[in-house]
């Protein structure tokens, strides 16, 4: 409660003075299920950043890290694709995702990116089996694996960050309002997750870059999250209350603990590295779930739509006219004075 006061950016009077239609939401609640879509956000991030680790390890000669990076990338992206298809109202029509190529649709962009990333990550992962084959086949697999691994690594960051745009490019107050920070938050969260998972799966000796990536990711994740909720205005409430609030709290704690543990003991102890890595990954997952739920909550209460819009209008009042030729800029829908 005190936290809420502290962060309250909208004067109490204003909140209570708005009208609504029987308290019914103005916006539609996203129909996505948290189980699939928040998981998908997490898995996509994990996959994208893991592909980076795999490729880096390949280039820098860390076979264990390469293997884990590639396998995790492939597994995660496969799982994320399953989650995505499962969430479709008409799963049998999933191929329609490639019917068009729409830069205005993050989901379309994502689909194309995934269409590139998925096979390359898969090929890279397959090469881990193939390289054991004798002779030319093995060599071919190794070479193909490198190419595919590099390809997936190039697309990996896109996989990790396009989901931020996917969420932001909606009318959901919390998601849209978060758009300036969200790509960074998601990139960092992906890094933390991938680093963490790699730290779990890889002997500490080869996992240095993973730990560093994980810790750096954790730090940026925490920082970006804090920045975001400061700037979000009223919608930030949704990150502090209810299910989203609990998840967010858990996310910070896990990420914080994971980062500290990894930093402190990850190099020395395999157990500590694994624990720290697991905490980081769990933290990253919680971050995604928290954000997802906060967005949903922001659609369920009409205040988050009406109050900021109303004050925006009021601020504009004397001049009249509506945002006529206003240039696009980082003025999130939810922000106001």
């Amino acid at each position: 409660m005190s936290r809420r006061r502290q962060h309250q950016m909208v004067p109490e009077a204003e909140v209570s003075s708005y009208d609504s239609y029987y308290g019914r939401p103005v916006l539609k609640r996203p129909t996505w299920s948290a189980r699939y879509i928040a998981s998908y956000l997490f898995l996509g991030g994990l996959a994208g950043a893991s592909a980076l680790l795999g490729a880096g390890a390949d280039l820098t000669g860390r076979p264990a890290l390469r293997r884990s990076g590639r396998l995790v990338a492939a597994a995660a992206i496969a799982a994320s694709a399953v989650a995505l298809v499962e969430d479709l109202g008409r799963p049998e029509r999933f191929l329609n995702m490639l019917r068009m190529a729409k830069p205005t649709s993050p989901m379309s962009v994502g689909s194309w990116v995934l269409a590139g990333f998925g096979p390359s990550a898969g090929l890279a992962a397959a090469s881990e089996v193939g390289r054991a084959l004798p002779g030319g086949l093995g060599r071919l697999a190794t070479r193909a694996g490198r190419g595919a691994g590099l390809g997936s690594a190039l697309l990996g960051p896109a996989v990790a960050t396009y989901t931020a745009v996917l969420l932001s490019d909606t009318a959901v107050p919390t998601w849209h309002g978060a758009y300036p920070e969200l790509p960074f938050l998601f990139a960092a969260s992906s890094a933390a997750a991938a680093g963490g998972v790699a730290a779990v799966l890889t002997p500490p000796g080869q996992a240095g870059p993973a730990r560093r990536l994980g810790v750096a990711g954790a730090a940026v994740e925490l920082g970006a999250g804090e920045l975001m909720s400061r700037r979000l205005g009223m919608a930030a409430e949704t990150l502090r209350h209810g299910r989203a609030g609990r998840l967010n709290l858990a996310a910070r704690a896990l990420t914080g603990a994971g980062g500290v543990l990894t930093l402190a003991a990850g190099r020395r102890s395999r157990a500590a590295a694994a624990t720290g890595g697991a905490l980081l990954a769990a933290g990253s997952a919680c971050t995604r779930f928290a954000l997802f739920e906060a967005g949903v909550a922001s659609t369920e209460d009409p205040r988050y739509t009406v109050v900021p819009q109303r004050s925006r209008l009021r601020a504009r009042e004397p001049g009249g006219g509506i945002a006529r030729a206003r240039e696009a800029g980082p003025e999130p829908t939810g922000s106001h004075a």
């Binding site: 996505w32 820098t60 479709l88 329609n96 931020a164 870059p209 509506i322």
Partner: protein, 282 residues
């Protein structure tokens, strides 16, 4: 392909005279839409029923909401016209206002639902309207949170997204949409958008002159957050009173900035990963 936000072609926000042209329709007919004059609405819900009969929309369940005479609650995948009922004491304390207003998809000039749709199921028609193609939609659900008015929704059990089509099938034959045709008091007026905007302005003057000081047009301004709605309203009170957002902005207005930031973040991630490895090499 030039994607600029408010100028040039392929715009994502701001005034836009010819959305159909931007959607690749050459020689398209004039843009059509709705002017819903709520000052003459009698809340009969003929529009709701006529829409369902024409479009064979299933019923939306039998729930007593008791929100005045509103028992459908809002627009949904199975309610494409929705009549809101608002009971309010008059400002002078003498008597009561009972406001009724038939809501519908706004057929935005910049339609977020359409732009975020990955499959192209959502379509800008040659009439400038926005429709879902039921044979294409795969139920990804993206359009649902994208709409700043909370219009479009997925139908449980069916999985696809549904909303007002502005009777696309009828328009092709020069027919009036079913809801507008039925409306007993012509609260719903259908026609070329330019004409409707003019008519709305003179009607507003009339209504104001008759003493309704708080009457206003909603969604008719091409300069508003969605570039003007294809279906706009004369309201007698604040929009939020009817369950409408007071100042909706199409989310894609910020999309270029989002992509830029995502690109920077992706780059940062790439760089970060590189640094993680390079740091180890040192």
């Amino acid at each position: 392909m030039s994607v600029s936000v408010t100028t040039g072609t392929n715009r994502l926000a701001g005034p836009l005279a010819d959305p159909a042209g931007e959607a690749g329709w050459e020689g398209a007919p004039p843009r059509v839409g709705f002017f819903t004059d709520t000052s003459v609405c009698i809340g009969c819900k003929a529009c709701e029923v006529a829409c369902k009969e024409w479009n064979r929309v299933p019923d939306d369940g039998f729930r007593f909401l008791g929100h005045s005479y509103d028992n459908t609650g809002g627009l949904s995948a199975s309610t494409w016209r929705h009549v809101a009922f608002v009971e309010k004491p008059l400002p002078d304390g003498k008597g009561l206002a009972w406001l009724m207003s038939s809501d519908v998809c706004k057929h935005c000039t910049h339609a977020a639902c359409l732009d975020v749709c990955p499959t192209g199921a959502l379509l800008r028609t040659e009439f400038g309207t926005v429709v879902v193609q039921e044979d294409v939609c795969n139920g990804c659900g993206y359009c649902v949170p994208a709409c700043p008015y909370g219009v479009i929704d997925q139908r449980p059990g069916d999985g696809r997204a549904w909303k007002c089509t502005l009777c696309y099938d009828r328009l092709g034959q020069g027919l009036e949409p079913a809801c507008a045709k039925a409306c007993p008091t012509k609260s719903i007026q259908f026609g070329p958008l330019d004409e409707l905007r003019q008519r709305a302005r003179s009607r507003l003057a009339e209504v104001r002159a008759s003493g309704a000081a708080s009457a206003r047009l909603y969604g008719e301004d091409p300069g508003d957050g969605v570039g003007g709605a294809g279906a706009f309203f004369l309201l007698l009170d604040e929009p939020e009173v009817y369950g409408l957002p007071p100042d909706p902005v199409v989310t894609t207005r910020d999309l270029p900035s989002m992509w830029r930031r995502a690109a920077v973040a992706a780059g940062a991630l790439l760089a970060g990963a590189a640094a993680a490895f390079l740091g180890a090499a040192q």
